[in-house]
Symmetry: C2
């Protein structure tokens, strides 16, 4: 799918530039919003505008690739957490990060328009990756007996999504406290005892 | 506040007409959306357009009064549930109705604009009534030992709100099943055992 995957056969320096541009884009969009000047992205990456436009000819392609990186980072964290000692703790740590992701990346997700008619395909793939991540963490927690056997991964994602939507601004300390309390309540609801 | 309260000193037949118009408006807005023709509201109430416009000179005033009735009905149900035998069951039955309210009345709530500069006052009053209702139900459930003492009423409202936002269309049976499972998970999380 255009924008998500680096083109095959990219030379090592081009791969490095692409990665630097995406890291810069994620930081700039997070700080200044999704309408930030693309010049700021190139400057932050220490590269010229021509390099930026060679990798991402339109803002739309850069938005898609930046969001794909956010999802990939969240799924990478999930894989790392599969090695954490407490499987229940790992599952809810990841759900906490998922709540932050939904709350803080909504504007980015909404900015992805359907110019290329690929929006549904893209979001289908991202949702699939999120589901696979929560399922792996949940299976491990259930197998270890720290989470009830009848708890459903999609239900946990839906609740975490709801907590993000209801919790409003994650930059507000009171909202962060509330999000933590709500997740603790959900966690208590999954306790097998 | 304009629109919420029937004007004092309204004659009995005028009160009856106002109540019939509001019942008709709630039904018509629920069936046809908030842009439904006002003629349909008058016709459904069995009254003329002149009577409708005498009670509610603008669509905005009718929208405010109809939403106020929705909130009042939900709070009335909460008061009735204070007499239900199982206090924990009563609390979660009400939260289920609150989820339905949020999911099905969102368009109506959004249609209330700030023409008179009263939107914040109106929603402040409605939120206060919802909070008072959940607090009364929760206090009873906590006193009876069916809900943990450290559970917070505003947290329950926030979770129920999130469930409504995440659960999408309440007319979809799969979404309704999910909403019921999510509330059951939250309820398990409030269990003192």
């Amino acid at each position: 799918v255009a924008g998500i995957d680096p083109p095959p056969g990219l030379r090592a320096d081009a791969r490095r530039n692409r990665a630097a541009l995406l890291a810069a884009a994620r930081a700039v969009f997070a700080e200044q919003g999704v309408d930030a000047p693309l010049d700021d992205v190139a400057r932050r990456a220490g590269l010229g505008n021509a390099t930026l436009y060679r990798h991402f000819p339109t803002r739309g392609e850069l938005l898609v690739a930046a969001y794909a990186e956010e999802v990939a980072a969240l799924c990478d964290l999930g894989r790392e957490l599969l090695a954490a000692p407490d499987a229940g703790e790992a599952l809810f740590e990841w759900l906490g990060e998922f709540v932050s992701h939904v709350a803080s990346k909504r504007a980015l997700a909404f900015a992805i328009t359907d110019d290329a008619g690929e929006r549904a395909t893209l979001f289908g793939r991202w949702h699939h990756d999120m589901r696979a991540t929560v399922t792996a963490l949940l299976d491990r927690a259930r197998a270890g007996g720290t989470v009830r056997a009848d708890v459903d991964g999609l239900d946990l994602l839906a609740l975490a999504n709801g907590i993000a939507l209801a919790g409003a601004n994650p930059d507000d300390p009171a909202a962060r406290d509330r999000i933590a309390r709500l997740l603790a309540l959900v966690r208590a609801g999954t306790d097998p005892r």
